[in-house]
């Protein structure tokens, strides 16, 4: 039962089959499976119940027992909400692009040429975990005052802050991917064949870290879709802020749950699809 563990180093393990008591192994396996099923069912229930309650509320009709898609249709008919959804989706895309553009060339460059700075880069990337968003936003207010005056009032400007928030997650995803391949050899081989740096990054390295790139994108996207603190305290309206405003006006409004459920399902399906897409290439070089 050799497994190629997808860890740093990626060394294939030698197959070892010492003689072992079969009965104990089967029994252990059975006990383990029982344990796993119990755990999955228990946790599955715990996680699904609030979401189920949310979806059930969103399908509430006029009378308590009825079902109706009114709340879901309301999503499309509320201009503020649609606007907020649009802005947030656009923000997610912009932030993902910015984060990748910021991190990938830098991390590759550091691994290749400037190893001594890698500790600093790592520290800076993990620093946002130490500085809570609520603290950061206190200091971001003056910066955003300037941004408002010179770069416009659009909530899309939030991407500057969101990229910082996403750094720790994206860094770790990308680091895992970059550590698994031998950048030095790949880039030296490519350079010796005459490729310039852009080609090396775009056509040699990027395809090899596809899974890591996808992971980083998804983590960033999920972060942006769920972000509330910075948007609300910088006086911008994004999806979460709009949902919060609606909730203050109408307690338990069906449209709140419909939107939340939609956002959740959307992100989950995306993550699932991309987790399959990333693995497809595993067999090839």
């Amino acid at each position: 039962m050799a497994e190629v563990t997808p860890l740093a180093g990626g060394t294939a393990l030698l197959e070892e089959t010492p003689a072992r008591p079969r009965r104990m192994q089967t029994r252990r396996r059975r006990r383990l499976n029982l344990f796993r099923y119990v755990v999955f069912v228990a946790f599955g229930l715990f996680f699904v119940l609030p979401i189920y309650a949310m979806v059930r509320f969103s399908l509430q009709g006029v009378k308590p027992g009825e079902y109706s898609l009114k709340a879901w249709r309301q999503i499309a008919s509320s201009p503020d909400l649609v606007g907020a959804i649009e802005i947030t989706l656009e923000l997610a895309i912009i932030t993902c692009v910015v984060v990748l553009l910021l991190l990938v060339p830098t991390m590759i460059w550091v691994r290749l040429r400037v190893q001594w700075i890698s500790r600093t880069v790592e520290f800076l990337c993990l620093l946002p975990l130490t500085i809570p968003a609520i603290v950061l936003v206190v200091g971001l207010a003056p910066v955003y005052r300037t941004i408002r005056q010179h770069a416009g009032l659009s909530a899309l400007q939030l991407f500057w802050a969101y990229a910082i928030l996403a750094l720790p997650y994206a860094y770790r995803a990308l680091a895992a991917g970059l550590d698994a391949i031998d950048i030095k050899t790949l880039s030296e081989a490519a350079r010796s064949l005459g490729a310039n740096w852009l080609t090396v990054m775009w056509r040699i390295i990027a395809p090899n870290i596809r899974q890591a790139l996808l992971n980083a994108t998804l983590l960033t996207g999920a972060l942006v879709l769920g972000e509330f603190t910075i948007a609300s305290l910088l006086l911008y309206t994004n999806l979460q802020v709009e949902l919060y405003n609606i909730s203050r006006a109408t307690l338990n409004a069906g449209v709140l749950f419909a939107t939340s459920a939609a956002a959740l399902i959307f992100t989950f399906v995306l993550l699932l699809i991309l987790s399959f897409a990333g693995r497809r290439r595993r067999g090839r070089g």
Partner: protein, 288 residues
């Protein structure tokens, strides 16, 4: 590859190693982080030690941190974060083990990983709504929990909901690193499951477990959106109080108080994250 070709014979002009300008390749990253992370942090820390009038520095603002009210907020924050981190870590570790011990390409693993990825970031406004819909005292669909607005039970349950997936995400690599061979070796030597965990698995996973618990602790400490959307008007934790200090309309609004509390938070979280980083390094050794 280090020193380029030097002119022969001119010793004084030849440097042992010419200072490379390669680091300028990281300049865009450094500038970006400088403006949008270091600068705001500096503004906050500077504000914490500035006089309220704005001219001059003073350490007297820090006395605020010693006031009984501030101590209450920090104690509440630590209490809530510690409870949810421990419970979340234990439950999350169990779930992570269940996921890791299955087929690495299996559907179950994918679903739980995707689910964890979503739910770890789900915390916040929408999560509080979902819980209000499920067990809220006024609109609860499953039950009307009278303890929903109690601290720390009510909000703690909501926090645990996103702490567990986060634990799965950060602890899974460590559990994956527990090689099957070690388990089989223990068996071959006649060891039971309990003995495996006590002498092999436990000690190996301990640093990672501790480190991930600390991460969960820092995560709970920093959480703001969830407890705001919980709609409890009583300000319990430091993050809420920072926001109150910024938006209070009863004459208590004080940018300095917000900044001092922020400074306190940064110190606490920095300590926790340093411990986490040290533990991570120890863990990484075993996983290679």
């Amino acid at each position: 590859m280090a020193a380029a070709a030097t002119t022969v014979g001119d010793r004084s002009a030849r440097a042992v190693r010419r200072p490379s300008l390669a680091w300028t390749g990281t300049l865009p990253f450094l500038c970006y982080v400088g403006i949008f992370l270091l600068l705001p942090t500096g503004i906050v820390l500077w504000g914490a030690i500035s006089k309220p009038t704005g001219h001059g520095l003073t350490l007297s603002n820090l006395k605020l941190l010693g006031s009984s009210a501030a101590r209450g907020f920090f104690l509440n924050s630590v209490e809530l974060s510690a409870i949810t981190a421990l419970v979340g870590a234990l439950l999350g570790a169990v779930l992570a083990y269940a996921v890791a011990s299955g087929n690495p390409n299996g559907v179950v693993r994918r679903i739980f990983l995707a689910g964890s990825g979503v739910l770890a970031q789900f915390g916040g406004v929408t999560l509080a709504f979902a819980f209000n819909a499920a067990i809220g005292p006024s609109g609860g669909f499953l039950t009307h929990a009278t303890w929903y607005y109690d601290f720390p039970q009510g909000i703690g349950l909501i926090y645990i909901y996103f702490q567990i997936p986060l634990m799965v995400l950060v602890f899974l690599p460590a559990v994956d690193g527990l090689k099957v061979q070690w388990r089989e070796a223990t068996e071959n030597l006649g060891g039971s499951t309990l003995q495996f965990w006590r002498h092999v698995g436990g000690p190996l996973l301990a640093p990672a477990f501790l480190g991930c618990t600390l991460l969960l602790f820092a995560n709970a400490l920093s959480a703001y959106a969830t407890i705001v959307a919980w709609e409890n008007q009583i300000s319990y934790v430091v993050t809420q109080q920072i926001s109150v200090a910024m938006t209070s309309e009863v004459g208590l609004s004080s940018a300095n108080e917000a900044q001092v509390l922020a400074l306190g938070m940064v110190v606490v979280v920095a300590l926790v994250m340093t411990a986490y980083a040290l533990l991570q390094r120890r863990t990484a050794r075993w996983l290679r």
